[in-house]
């Protein structure tokens, strides 16, 4: 999709600049963009490498499986159709925990495994089952305990309090998740 949007943005901008007489500004901006991409990448090396290191330690411990036990009641509420499928439930809760801890790279492979397990029980192989639909919507809701990437960016950009957005992120993502879950529960009966 970006193969269409990206050139469109550039073409529209430069044509508009040519017509409106703003072309000098637009031309100077080209090289400024490169410079700020380089500057930002250098600061990213610090913050993103740091978090990846911390998160790697977390992955090696039993913290993840401990937390996933706490999720059982939630999983049973969200996935009533998976009654006896313990393997699917376990994979789903590991995926949710990985998401909560901000382990995006670990969450996706776990999530794909859960999809595979649910697909085995799916009567219509080319259509999402209710459980699969709920699972995907949950994964698009980005529930995270610590939005590490955003905090990393904020401190790279010189914020005076980079982590001051955590509570607001929690509220916004919980609201988003509740809306997504409710919509899914309603839609799955009708479509």
């Amino acid at each position: 999709m970006l193969n269409i949007i990206w050139p469109a943005f550039i073409a529209i901008s430069f044509i508009y600049a040519l017509i409106s007489g703003n072309i000098e500004n637009a031309s100077n901006g080209i090289f400024e963009s490169c410079e700020s991409a380089v500057e930002l990448t250098i600061t990213f090396f610090g913050t993103i490498c740091l978090w990846n290191g911390i998160i790697a330690i977390c992955k090696e411990t039993s913290l993840m499986s401990k937390l996933s036990k706490l999720l059982k009641p939630v999983i049973n509420f969200l996935f009533p159709e998976l009654k006896r499928n313990n393997q699917a439930k376990e994979e789903i809760s590991m995926n949710i925990i990985a998401n909560l801890l901000g382990l995006g790279n670990a969450a996706t492979p776990l999530g794909l495994k859960a999809m595979e397990t649910m697909q085995k029980e799916n009567p219509k192989k080319d259509t999402l089952s209710n459980s699969m639909a709920m699972f995907i919507v949950l994964n698009t809701a980005s529930l995270q305990l610590i939005p590490t990437n955003v905090i990393a960016i904020r401190s790279s950009l010189g914020s005076s309090a980079p982590s001051n957005i955590i509570l607001q992120v929690w509220v916004a993502s919980i609201i988003a998740a509740v809306v997504g879950i409710t919509a899914t529960k309603i839609f799955m009966k009708k479509f």
């Binding site: 911390i54 794909l112 192989k125 960016i153 607001q168 988003a176 997504g180 839609f187």
Partner: protein, 171 residues
């Protein structure tokens, strides 16, 4: 408000403490593991760099040519109605489509309007509380060869919209 700030500020040290506690308790070589993980981080940043250049070029062009101001002016009646600052619209539009592209846009917005301003804070909360919805749906569905995703896109985009409106209401 100071309690909120205190909680926000303690969250990261506490999480690091808990992770280190488990690492030491389970006798892991925590520093070696940290180094390995940090090394993987290098690859993530290097992979991100070309995208950042591309996106900064496109978004910078939108801004410097003056067309962004022009578009913002046209759609501001609608965004005013939803109480969404029009400056964050490019982000709202790209967020569901591409993670690295929306990251580039978010950075651009925060650099232009300030990280700690209302717009900067809203941008941060949107980035933290939404996902690359369309990409996620595509990956998970295509992996098990599913073609009919039913209502999932609608439900997920509805959730994104709720998250974005909530993010703007919080400031």
């Amino acid at each position: 408000m100071s309690i909120i700030n205190y909680l926000s500020a303690s969250a990261i040290p506490i999480v690091i403490l808990i992770i280190l506690y488990y690492g030491i308790k389970e006798k892991k070589k925590v520093f070696d593991i940290f180094l390995e993980g940090a090394k993987d981080g290098l690859k993530i940043v290097i992979d991100l760099f070309p995208t950042l250049i591309g996106i900064f070029l496109a978004v910078g062009a939108l801004r410097n040519s003056g067309i962004l101001d022009f578009i913002i002016e046209i759609i501001s009646p609608v965004t005013d109605l939803l109480k969404i600052p029009s400056q964050i619209l490019p982000l709202a539009m790209l967020r569901p489509i591409s993670g690295s592209a929306s990251m580039g846009v978010a950075v651009d917005i925060m650099q232009t309007y300030g990280v700690d301003t209302t717009i900067g804070m809203i941008t941060s909360v949107i980035m933290g509380s939404t996902e690359t919805t369309i990409y996620t749906i595509a990956i998970y569905s295509s992996f098990v060869k599913i073609k009919k995703t039913r209502f999932v896109l609608a439900a997920a985009l509805l959730a994104d919209l709720a998250g974005m409106i909530m993010a703007t209401c919080l400031f």
